[in-house]
Amino acid sequence: MSPDFVSILVVARWGSVGLMVIVLLMMTYILCLRAVLLMRERRYRNLSARWTPILLEGGASSPRPLPSVAPGERFLLLILWNTLRERSEQDAGICHWMGRVAAVTQIDRLARRLLRRRSVRKQLLGLVTLGQLRDRLEWPGLCQIAQSGHPLLSLAATQAIARIDPAQAAGTVVSLIVTHLNWPAAKVAGILEDIGPERVSEPLARCLLQAPESHRPALIPFLAVCNYSTALPTVRQILREPHLDEVIAPCLHVIGKFGDRQDLPLLYRYLTHPRWHVRTVAAGCVGKMGRRSDQERLVPLLADPHWWVRYRAAQAIVGLSPQDDQRLRDIQSTLDDRYARDILTQAIAEGLAPGQSGTHLSPTGRMRIGAGR
C-alpha cells in the first residue's frame, strides 16, 4: 500500500466513525424534536381548551374574567388568537372582543416584539397579528418592512397596513405594487379588494397611466377590482393611445368584466385582430355584452384556425340566443366548415347540460383578477 493510500485509509476510518457519531447525534436530535413537539402540542391543546370558549364568547353579555397567561404560554396564545380571529372574521362582536383580550393579555406587545426577531416565521406572525389588531403604533415600521425586498415579509406588511388603515394605505399600497411586480397577483388583488374599490381606483388608475409600458400588462388586471367609473375610462385611454399588443387582452378582460355596451364597437374591431388570444377574449366579451344581432359578427370566427377562438365564438353565439334552439340550428345549417359545425354542436350541447356554462374558461390559465368573485 502506498503511503498516500495509508493516510487516506486513516482519514476514511476516522470518517466512518465520525459518520456514525453524526447519525447518532441526528437521531437524538430528531427524538428531542419529537419530544418537544409532543409537549408543545399538549400545551397547545390545554391552552386551546381553556381559551377557545373565552375568545369566542364575544357576543356574550357578561364575559367571564380572563385567566392569567404564563409568559411561556403567550406565544401559543398568539397563535390560537390568530387562528380564531381569522375564523371569526365575519363576526364583528367576536373580533372586537378578541381585540380587548389581546390588549389585556399583552399579546399585542408580543406581536410588536416579534417584528424585531430574526426568524422570518415570527416576523410574519407579528405582522399578521398587528394587521388583525388594527394596531397603528408600528405604522412606520410596517411601511419600512413593506418596502423591503423580502417577498413574503413585504407582502405581509402591505397586507397589515391595508388592514390597519385602508384609507391611508391606499396610495402607499398602490405605489408598493408598482415596485413589487414579483408579488403574487392573486394576493395583491385580495389586498386591493380589502381596501375597497372606492379607495384604490383613483391611485391605481393614475399609477397605471404613469407606469412604463412594460409594467402595464401586469398592472391592468388589477383594474378589475376598481370602480366602473375609473376602470373603463382608463382602459379606453390605454387602447386609444399607442400601446403594446400585450396590453390588449387584459384591457378587454376589464371591459368584459364591467360590460358597458358603449364598448361594443371597440370589441368588434378586435374580433379580427391578428393575435388569436385577443380574438378569443373579444369574442367572449361580445358574447357577454352583445345583442342577438351580433351573432352574425361571430359566425366567421367559428371557422377560425384556433380552437379557442372557435369555442369562445360558439359559446357567445349560444349565449346570445338562450332558449332558441331553432335559431341555433339555422345558423348551424348555414355552416360549410366541419370544424365550425362541430364546435357549435358542442356549445349547444354544453348549453343544455347542467353546469356547463364555460364562460369562465381561459386559454392561457394565467390568473384573471376578479374572475368568479
Binding site: L9, L19, R34, A35, A186, K187, R366
Partner: protein, 463 residues
Amino acid sequence: MMAFFLAAQWFFLLYFLALNGVYAMLIFRALGGVARYMQSRDVAGLPHLLGGFAPPVSIVIPARNEEANILRTLHSLQQHYPEYEIVVVNDGSTDRTLEVLTAAYSLEPFPEAYRARLKTRPVRAIYQSTVDPRLRVIDKEHGGRGDAVNAGVNIAHYPWVCRVDADSILQRDSLMLIVEPLLEDPTVVASGGTIRVANGCRSQDGLFVEADLPKRPLVLFQVVEYLRAFLYGRMGWSPMNAHLIISGAFGIYHKETFVAVGGYRCDTVGEDMELIVRLHRTLSAQRKSYRITFVPEPICWSTVPDDIGTLRRQRIRWQVGLAESLAMNRGLMFHKEGSFAGWFAYPFTVFFEWLGPVVETCGYLFVIAGFALGIVSLSVFITFMLLAVGFGILLSTCALLLEEISFHIYKRPRHVLMLFGIAVLENFGYRQLNTLWRMAAVFQHLHRGVRARLGRRKQECPA
C-alpha cells in the same frame, strides 16, 4: 495488476466523494427550501386566502383495467377547490371499467368537438355524466398512460391540467396546495406534488384519514426511500429549477406548454420523467423564462408494491424510463442555455443515477475481489463497508430530520424509531438488491428488448 487496483481505488474514491458531495449539497438546499416553505405555509395560510383566485383545473385520470379502483379515486377527487372538471380516459380497458363508471355516474354520449392537438390512438366515444356535470369520460383504444393523458388533454376545458393516477389517494386540499406555486409565480409551467406510501395508512371511501406505517419490511423500506427521494432529492433540485421528474401519480401542467412541447411520448416507459426533461430542453433552448416547481407537502398517497417480483419490475421500469428520458433529450446536457438543469442535474443523473448502479456494483465486487486475492486488507475492507453503509444511513437520517422539522406526518414516537431502524437496515441487503435490479436494467436497456419482459410493451406513437 497492482497498478490496475491502484487506479481503480482512486476512481471509486473520487466517485464516492463526488456523489456524496452532491447529496450533501442537495440536503442543504432542501433544508433551506423546506424552511422557507414552512414559513410561508405557517402564517400566509395560502389555501384559504387564495381560494378565490385559484385557476380552474382539468383533472385527467388515465385508467386501464381499473374497475376496482376508479370509483374510490373519483371519490377522493371531491376536492375543496373552487372550479375543476374531471376527465377519465378509459384506455382500452378489457375489464368493466367503463361499465362501472357508466352505472355510477349515468354516462351519456356527448357530441364533443374533439380537438386532436396531440395525436393519440383513436377515440371511440366521449361521455358526459348526467349526475355530475364536472365529469367526462373518453373511451379510446389502448395506447398507454401517456397516450391516455394526451387524449384527456385534448378535451380538457381548463388551462391547467392535473394528472392523477387511478390508484392514487388525494387529500381534500391537494389541488389547492399544488396550484399554490402557479399563483406565486406566473412563469411556472409545471408543478409536482410529494408522493407518500399509502400502504398501511387509513382511508375511508377513498379519502385519506390517517398516516400509519405498514407492517411489511419491504414496504417500510420504500417509505424511507420515498422520504429520501421527495424530501431532499426533489426539494434539493427544485430551488435551482433543475429537478428532472414530476411523478406521474400527481402533477399539474400548463396545458398550452404541455401541448406546445408535444405532450407525453408514448414510446417510453418513463413518460413522466421524459416530459419534464423535454420541457427543460425545449424551454431553455427557446430562452423562455420558466419554472418547474415542487410542493414538498405530502398530498398524494400511492400504493407501492408489497411483493418482491412487482418491486423488481417497477425498479427496472423506472431505470429504463430514466435511461430513455436521458437518451431522448441528450441535447440538454451542457446546452449553453441549459442552466442548472443542463449543466448540473442532467450530468449528475447520467453519471450517478443511470451509471451509478454499475459503478456501485463494480465497487463492491472490486473490494470483495481484492479482499479475496489478498490485495485489500481486512481493515480496508471494513473501512469501505463502514463508509458505504454510514453514508447510506446518514442520507436516510437526513431525510427523517427533514420530515421531522416539516410535516411529521407519522405521529407516534414509535414511528420515528421504526423509521430510523429501517434507515439502518435497508443498507444491509435492500439497497444492494435495488442496485442489482437497476444495473440489470442498464444492461437490458443497452441491449434493448426490455419491454416485452416487463409486460408493458413499447407503444408505437400514433402517426
